[in-house]
């Protein structure tokens, strides 16, 4: 599946200075991403979102990013200046957030916003941009593309909004998409339909995807490879298909404590957290 | 020292053991945040200074500032009369000190009248909604629509000049923004799950208003009140200046400016000193209000 990796992350750290001391949100995360779907799973506070943001240099004020290596397609992101980073954020690595409402401009029609993305990234004339926009809306399986083109963000549903975000993110034809809980706010069927759109686009265009989610089952069925994060560290790396053979007690605990649809249990096994996990060696298979 | 250490330990204990300790801790954490803000502390020091001066007035003044002493009229500031004397020969320093009591009296009385009215009208309008809301808010709008000083003047004209009537007039013209704020808070609180939870418990509407809604409206009302204090003092001074507030020989700061203004060119200190006093106290309340706003900010967790 992978040839030369698109993204290399080695020993990534993100820490924050707070009044009560330094908080380490990400502690030594390393991975490589090829043209594949990589899932990062973890509970709240595991550092999964921080990892995704840190790749793009998006660290909240008071935060610090360190890494031994952070490379996108041969470009060193650690030493890149703000201009290079802007180009990379715009053209090479896109990010899809959980709630499209915050990412879309509420007083601009959807069509105009997508068109603008075209005009910024590609040298196109307005007429062509309009056609490409409609084409893009159809590509994300929006049936009434003409109507949505004229609509404003508050007039569309959550699932539609997220499709529109995907369409916008696809315009610069990035190599990597980082999706942070892109469908968590959606109903389950809509969620899967949106993921299908994302999936098709990624495989057609040969992109890499980092899919950040708390939903172990979803990641296991959607992604190719999984990183399980706990306490800012990757505690387990495995192929999605082999998740059920995961060895780290945290991963096992997470899998076991999910209620089952198929058989009843009197009591769910409860995850017992071991302080040793915070300094644990990584298990990979 | 160890006693103080114990109190600190009690206030920072991991596990509070009583309701009072929990409240004390919340207050202390808020205080720590407030203390870290130098501008807010400056405001607090000014306001605390005002209170202290008002309390100590009999001991830090030589006279009650009411008796004329015509041979010494319009003396410039000197070692004997720090801020000089006015047109009747009264020591301005003494009058300023005694005047702080009047300022505090005005501010305190207005607060005591305005906050409950604003809270009651605002929370009921916001929480009950519907027709009640419309009626109460239109009433509020009427009071908001008048310029404050003009309305206060109209009230005083009806009630007759005097300090108490000035305070009443100011209160009547000041409560409406508080009702608006309380209503805005109540509107957002009304839809939260903890209000639904209280309804499920069977808490009465009055109980929900007093125990659940009001405590959450209180912080923004208090912030607004401290920020408004400057305006209240200035309105009181304005009424005093127009001769509609405190009557001579009461050493009210606005009235002092009013009576001293004809000496501005030759004996500048007569109107300037009370002017500075008003400025400093207004500034103090404003800074304090800003600081409180930061402490009460829900994001700070205090």
């Amino acid at each position: 599946m992978t040839d030369a990796p698109l993204l290399k992350v080695e020993d990534l750290h993100v820490s924050y200075n707070t009044p009560t001391g330094v908080v380490e949100a990400v502690r030594g995360v390393s991975f490589e991403l090829g043209r594949e779907k990589l899932g990062i799973v973890g509970e709240s506070g595991s550092g999964k979102s921080q990892t995704g943001r840190a790749i793009l240099g998006l660290v909240a004020p008071g935060g610090q990013r360190r890494a031994r290596r952070l490379e996108f397609d041969g470009t060193d992101l650690l030493s890149a200046d703000e201009r290079t980073m802007r180009r990379i954020r715009g053209d090479c690595i896109s990010m899809i957030m959980q709630d499209p409402k915050y990412s879309l401009n509420p007083v601009m029609s959807i069509g105009a916003q997508i068109e603008e993305a075209f005009l910024v990234h590609r040298e196109t004339i307005r007429q062509e941009a309009r056609e490409r926009t409609l084409e893009m809306l159809r590509a994300v399986k929006i049936r009434e593309a003409e109507r949505v083109y004229k609509a404003y963000p508050h007039e569309v549903s959550g699932g539609m909004g997220q499709r529109i975000m995907i369409a916008m993110m696809m315009i610069p034809e990035p190599d990597i998409i980082i999706a942070d809980e892109p469908t968590s706010a959606l109903d389950v069927t809509v969620q899967l339909q949106v993921l299908a759109v994302l999936d098709d686009m990624i495989s057609e265009r040969g992109m890499g995807l980092i899919f950040i989610s708390h939903d172990l089952n979803l990641v296991a069925s959607f992604c190719d490879r999984i990183l399980v994060m706990y306490g800012g560290q990757v505690v387990e790396q495995c192929l999605a298909a082999e998740l059920d053979q995961a060895r780290h007690p945290y991963t096992r605990g997470l899998l076991n404590c999910l209620p089952s649809l198929d058989h009843g249990q009197d009591e769910l096994p409860v995850l017992k957290r071991d302080p040793a996990w915070l300094s644990a060696v990584k298990v990979s298979s | 020292m160890s006693g103080l250490g114990n109190i600190r330990g009690w206030l920072l204990a991991e596990v509070p053991k009583s309701k009072w300790q929990a409240r004390g801790q919340r207050f202390y954490i808020g205080w720590l945040a407030f203390r870290a803000n130098p501008v807010a502390m400056a405001g607090l020091i000014i306001v605390a200074g005002l209170v202290l001066v008002a309390l100590l007035a009999p001991w830090i003044t030589a006279s009650d500032g009411l008796e004329p002493d015509l041979p010494n009229r319009l003396q410039p500031p000197s070692a004997e009369h720090w801020f000089g004397t006015d047109q009747l020969g009264r020591d301005i320093y003494d009058r300023i000190i005694w005047g702080s009591r009047i300022t505090l009296y005005i501010v305190g009385l207005v607060a005591i009248i305005v906050v409950p009215i604003g809270l009651v009208i605002g929370t009921i309008a916001g929480y009950v909604g519907g027709l009640v809301d419309s009626v109460l808010m239109r009433l509020t709008d009427i009071f908001l629509a008048f310029p404050r000083l003009i309305l206060a003047m109209a009230f005083v004209a009806v009630l007759g000049p005097g300090l108490e009537n000035a305070v009443l007039a100011i209160a009547l013209t000041t409560w409406s923004p508080f009702a608006r704020i309380a209503r805005a808070e109540a509107l957002t609180i009304r839809n939260s799950e903890f209000i639904l939870a209280a309804q499920v418990q069977g808490v009465s509407t009055v109980g929900i208003l007093t125990r659940h809604v009001t405590p959450l409206c209180l912080s923004s009302v208090i912030v607004r009140l401290t920020l408004d204090m400057a305006g209240i003092i200035l309105t009181a001074a304005g009424l005093g200046f127009l001769g509609l507030g405190a009557q001579p020989p009461t050493p009210e700061w606005g009235a002092m400016i009013s009576l001293g203004r004809q000496y501005l060119i030759d004996q500048w200190w007569v109107p300037t000193v009370p002017g500075i006093a008003i400025l400093v106290v207004s500034l103090g309340f404003n800074l304090l209000g800003d600081g409180l706003r930061d402490v009460f900010d829900p994001k700070s967790g205090a």
Binding site: S221, L254, G264, V270 | -
Partner: protein, 262 residues
Amino acid sequence: MIEINHLDVVFGHGHKLFHAVRDLALKIERGQSYGLVGESGSGKTTVLRALAGLLAGVARVSGEMQVAGESLQGQNRSREFRRRVQMVFQDPYGSLHPRHTVDTILSEPARVHRLDRIEDRVVQALEEVGLDASFRFRYPHQISGGQRQRVSVARALITDPEIVLLDEPTSALDVSVQAEVLNLLMRLKRDHGLTYVLVSHNLAVVAHMCEALSVMQNGSVVETMNVKQLRDHTPTTPYTRQLLTASLGYDRQAIDAFEEFA
């Protein structure tokens, strides 16, 4: 225990009119855990709120509701109903008053219903939900989401209720915390002989907790079944089948067969 017939709930007027629940019927036995399943906008939470009498002045509610022999009038609820029927809400961050300590939160229902031994009840309720006495004088912002949800459950237990309405009680929690809260709810049900009405979008949670369930869509029940049917994956309506398929995870082929149900 609970019987609802011809329940209709309508929000708003004119062109903003929204018919949230249409001619709904439900029958729940004493001691049962009953699931109400559906996607957002299906009306499942509205049914719960109509039952709890939380829609006064918010929506127009009509229909017959009977709870433990008591016939409910409109959205007014008797004091006795308020004692017998309690509710746990979805958002552990929103359902506890931010300026009240755990102690204040737990003693309020006891005071409202003029119960005796308030202090003992508070301590006992905390113990039952697995929180020790050190939590008693904390504020909600000082404890974790899972602990908050335990406090919400403890608050619901104070008045010794017979019915507890659960509105997505674990959907805002991490899965490991969800397991703890679900275990807690199961244990309390056994110990106190409670009747649960559980609203959830998560079929696995409903399969774990409930004996029977109704699937709702656009304000109506499309299918009522027992948990065995759910576990065997043998629902009868296409809507439920699709919901079930979607709950099993991502399957590229299956998604193309998804239909729009209006």
